[in-house]
């Protein structure tokens, strides 16, 4: 039976963070309710799409899914169970912003959620203010404690390095604090300043003070070291987990497994087709009952596009890519397609072979992964 992931997008937040360029905005409760109703229509409209498929992971992302009225979330879940075949051991992740956790959310988590991803970002209040986060370090810690107490056995902490005002020491303190809470999974991202964000504009004006390159690199190395010492295994460029706690849903993306995205701007992949839902809120509300009307970017992937993805997504995982699997999938050998690139990158110390027939990024390769991965685009 075909395993599939579900992604549900909630484009709302309490306040936009300075670095955020995701599809998200503050909205009235009424708007959030209307959105929930539209999302339910979209779920029903897609019921047939996943026939004969088992849903083995669900991810509630945003935005901030925890700002949704809990009653609406419950309704959404009852419709999900009604429309899709959801596995008993399905991993169900919800992103939660520490400033939004309350009794109602906790009870919903208790009933439906198996894994929580807590957007902590930093345990330094000054840094949190710099990011325009809505919570303090203490509130983040309190949220974590509440989740644990209410029985959530799989918790991820999202952390962010190379943010304004951060020093190598303060990042280390954040990591040490995070580890002391004993989460099961840690995502440690390095800030990327995007155009069209407040940070992007500040950078263009020259008023955004970021750690210098050497410091940033040092932070990166420190992250791997501290988390490894604490028993977290790096399994992807930015993701670390205790044994048995890797995020099943995210691995689906790296392995190019099928995933249906629901909600405003959500991305899907089923078979060799990728598409995205509209970014327009009005359009979404109007047409969500008819999923075909929501599609705005659709790509029928060619063989070579799939091979490219196999490489540039697979190599994000520390276990790397398997030449055998490549050949089974595409019918031609990885060496025939990428022999030159693989040899060159191995020669430059950016790739190595962790086992016979496997290629993976070295530490240096991870540092410059964009340059390395772009080499796998054909043509």
């Amino acid at each position: 039976m075909n395993e599939t992931g579900l992604y549900l997008h909630f484009p709302f937040c309490v306040r936009k963070c300075g670095y955020c360029d995701f599809l998200s905005f503050p909205a009235e409760e009424e708007t959030r309710k209307i959105y929930a109703a539209a999302l339910i229509r979209e779920i029903r409209g897609n019921a047939g799409v996943l026939r004969d498929r088992k849903v083995t992971s669900i991810f509630l992302g945003g935005g901030t899914p925890s700002v949704m009225p809990v009653q609406q979330l419950r309704r959404i879940f009852s419709v999900l169970y009604e429309c899709f075949d959801i596995a008993d051991d399905c991993e169900i992740t919800m992103e939660i912003n520490p400033g939004t956790l309350n009794e109602k959310v906790l009870s919903f988590v208790f009933d439906h959620i198996t894994r929580v991803s807590l957007g902590v970002q930093s345990f330094n209040d000054e840094e949190l203010r710099g990011l325009s986060r809505i919570h303090t370090a203490e509130e983040a810690e309190e949220s974590f404690r509440l989740l644990r107490e209410s029985g959530v056995r799989n918790i991820n902490l999202d952390l962010m390095s190379a943010i304004p005002g951060q020093s190598a020491e303060s990042w280390e303190q954040t990591l040490v604090k995070a580890v002391s809470l004993r989460p099961d999974h840690i995502s440690a991202y390095s800030l990327i300043v995007e155009e069209n964000t407040p940070f992007g504009r500040m950078r263009d004006e020259g008023v955004l003070v970021l750690p210098d390159e050497e410091t940033e690199r040092f932070m990166y190395a420190e992250t791997a070291r501290i988390l490894a010492e604490a028993g977290y295994e790096r399994y992807e460029i930015s993701n670390y987990a205790k044994p048995g706690f890797r995020c099943r849903h995210n691995i689906k993306y790296w392995r190019r497994e099928d995933c249906l995205g629901l909600g405003l701007g959500a991305a899907s992949k089923l078979g060799a087709v990728r598409w995205k839902n509209t970014d327009s809120f009005e359009h979404y509300l109007k047409h969500s009952a008819d999923p075909g009307m929501l599609v705005c970017e659709m790509e029928d992937m060619t063989r070579s596009a799939e091979a490219e993805e196999f490489m540039f997504l697979g190599l994000r995982m520390t276990e790397g890519v398997s030449a055998q699997e490549f050949e089974q999938t595409f019918g031609s050998s990885m060496r025939v397609v990428y022999g030159d690139v693989l040899d060159r990158l191995c020669g430059q110390g950016l790739l190595y072979m962790p086992a016979e027939g496997r290629y993976a990024l070295t530490d240096r390769g991870i540092d410059v992964s964009n340059m390395v991965l772009s080499e796998f685009l054909l043509g």
Partner: protein, 601 residues
């Protein structure tokens, strides 16, 4: 056609002094053009010229004027290119005229090029009528301009028409002056044909169209003509005159007229500007004086940015040469850049114009290497070679001594900038000759300078140090022995032939370290450290390092939006494609020319 009713003349002016605008007004007032035909600037019809505001390819036009005396006069207005690179072409256009209208901008006064062109006109025995333009502008200073023309050029300008070519004010006076003050042609209709080629044009259907001025005799369809310098002979298939942007066929081109000739000529090299056309069966005794082979002064390598487009570049050069006899090229191969051409140009503007035409009209993306002059190498075995490509420089042990081309430079400026400009000329190894004061605030500086010091960016430096108030003209002035050496640039330990250049030896260290610094800025950081070195022979004289990229990670991949990630990787790859791989280093194509530009505020 009665010769006494013909006026062959040109308009000479500095860039922007209003030559094309005056030409437009004359055409308008002679009534040959309807409003609809009247483009903004009839004479400048190449897109490129319009943008640069200068005339590149001479064009000529015939128009009929009914003068105040009631008679009709035929005006042949011969257009001339306005830049020093095209001096020879200018001189041939002038030789086709009997008179000239000198336009001087009353807000700017006389400038270096004005002077150069007026002297060329006087050398060709032309009668020159000065005209003071732009008197409608508040900053116009007509009296001072008149005084300047009289003092500096030595032309009587008391009665010069004060005009505004833009509004048409007093342009009528110019037309009457052309009739009454410029001489009519005085050729002999009975003598054998003697005509001067002053321009030509290649048309893919008609072949070469020769523009000429008949000095003696006449020519008609069926005449067998001979080009006296090249010896080529052709049967004339059509003659005619120049309408407004059109070729109008005629029975015959009689003595004194200006017109065109067609004879199924396929190769422009057989109809060189300056050559004399005569009757092959009844030739004149001697050719008109002044014919010269066009001599390239500046060479550079031109390569396609994408190697597979080499054949397109070759075809484009071939086509351009049909229309530009001064352009020379031959294939060359660079280790760094692959297949390309070593091209010879009259000067830097010519280079610039050709490069832009290749890019625009033929949609080519080009890499141009350092422009070089022609050095003469005297070898120890007595042989003398012309060096146009630094890569071909023989081993130092085989060289007795080298010579470099010199120019006489005249810089006209306001006196407050004499200090900075003299400093600039000295930095560029100029030898001071004299200063002529035109009036209390304006002067001409005369220097003798090595051509190689002015081919990169001298003009830009001049403009920036004088805030645009200096103008500049130069002419070739022979060769001189000099201490020269080849500077090589190594990227990641590999010499890049396209970046080698010849330099005055005492400046080699400074230029070498400057090149390395420049190149460091041009080459993006890559996956490994890249040493950049400057070397003379096997000796390294400067070094910089492009540090490796520390970090370039896309950490987050949100909600499975893979296409967004793909776009980012594609952008990265696209950026790399625009670069040239040298060894295993990616070098942006602009780097090859940018590294040569010296720092100027």
């Amino acid at each position: 056609m009665d010769q006494s009713k013909i006026r062959n003349f040109c308009i000479i002016a500095h860039i922007d002094h209003g030559k094309s605008t005056l030409a437009d007004r004359i055409l308008e007032m002679t009534g040959l053009l309807t409003e609809r035909e009247m483009q903004d600037q009839v004479l400048d019809n190449m897109e490129l010229e319009r943008e640069r505001g200068i005339t590149i390819k001479a064009q000529t036009v015939r128009t009929v004027y009914r003068a105040d005396d009631g008679e009709e006069y035929v005006f042949n207005l011969i257009d001339t290119p306005g830049h020093v690179d095209f001096n020879y072409e200018v001189s041939r256009s002038l030789a086709a005229c009997d008179g000239a209208v000198l336009v001087v901008d009353s807000t700017q006064g006389v400038e270096a090029q004005t002077l150069g062109n007026v002297y060329l006109a006087l050398d060709n025995d032309l009668e020159v009528i000065p005209v003071i333009n732009k008197i409608d502008l508040p900053s116009a200073q007509p009296e001072e301009t008149i005084r300047e023309i009289e003092d500096v050029i030595g032309l009587e300008a008391e009665n010069a028409p004060l005009i505004s070519a833009k509004t048409g004010l007093n342009v009528h006076e110019v037309l009457e002056a052309i009739v009454h003050r410029l001489p009519a042609p005085t050729g002999d209709p009975e003598k054998p044909l003697k005509a001067l080629i002053f321009d030509s044009l290649y048309d893919s259907y008609r072949g070469v169209i020769v523009f000429m001025r008949v000095f003696d005799g006449s020519v008609r369809k069926g005449t067998k003509v001979r080009m006296m310098a090249t010896g080529a002979e052709f049967d004339v298939t059509e003659v005619g005159v120049f309408g407004a942007g059109k070729f109008i066929p005629a029975e015959e081109l009689t003595v004194g007229t200006v017109g065109y000739l067609e004879a199924s000529i396929k190769d422009m090299k057989q109809t060189r500007v300056g050559d004399t056309v005569t009757d092959a069966l009844n030739p004149c005794e001697e050719a008109l004086p002044g014919y010269k082979e066009p001599l390239p002064m500046v060479y550079c390598g031109i390569y396609p940015a994408e190697t597979p487009r080499y054949p397109d570049l070759r075809d484009a050069l071939e086509k351009l040469q049909l229309n530009d006899a001064a352009l020379q090229y031959e294939p060359e191969t660079s280790q760094a850049l692959g297949f390309g051409f070593r091209c010879g140009f009259l000067g830097l503007l010519h280079l610039d114009v050709v490069q832009q035409r290749l890019e625009r009209e033929y949609d080519l993306d080009l890499i141009t290497t350092a422009p070089s002059v022609i050095y003469k190498i005297h070898k120890t075995n007595g042989e003398v070679i012309d060096l146009t490509n630094p890569s071909n420089m023989p081993d130092a042990s085989e060289i007795d001594y080298m010579e470099e081309p010199m120019v006489k430079a005249e810089i006209m400026l306001t006196t407050e900038y004499i200090g900075p400009i003299m400093k600039l000329c000295q930095e560029r190894r100029g030898i001071y000759e004299q200063t002529d004061y035109l009036e209390t605030t304006r002067a001409v500086l005369k220097y003798r300078m090595p051509l190689n010091e002015i081919i990169y960016d001298f003009f830009d430096a001049l403009k920036s140090r004088s805030r645009g108030y200096a103008s500049f003209d130069y002419e070739f002035d022979g060769y001189e022995r000099s201490e020269l050496t080849r500077l090589d640039i190594l990227v990641n330990h590999e010499p890049v032939d396209a970046l080698s250049f010849i330099v005055y030896a005492p400046n080699a260290y400074a230029r070498g370290s400057q090149m390395c610094e420049r190149l460091k800025k041009e080459i993006p950081r890559q996956l490994f450290d890249i040493p950049i070195q400057a070397a003379i022979g096997s000796k390294i004289i400067a070094r910089e390092t492009v540090r490796q990229v520390r970090k370039d990670v896309l950490a987050k991949c949100y909600g499975g939006d893979i296409s967004r990630k793909r776009k980012l990787l594609e952008k990265q790859k696209e950026g790399k494609k625009k670069m040239r791989e040298i060894g295993n280093v990616s070098v942006p194509k602009e780097a090859f020319l940018n590294v040569l530009k010296l720092d100027e505020e």
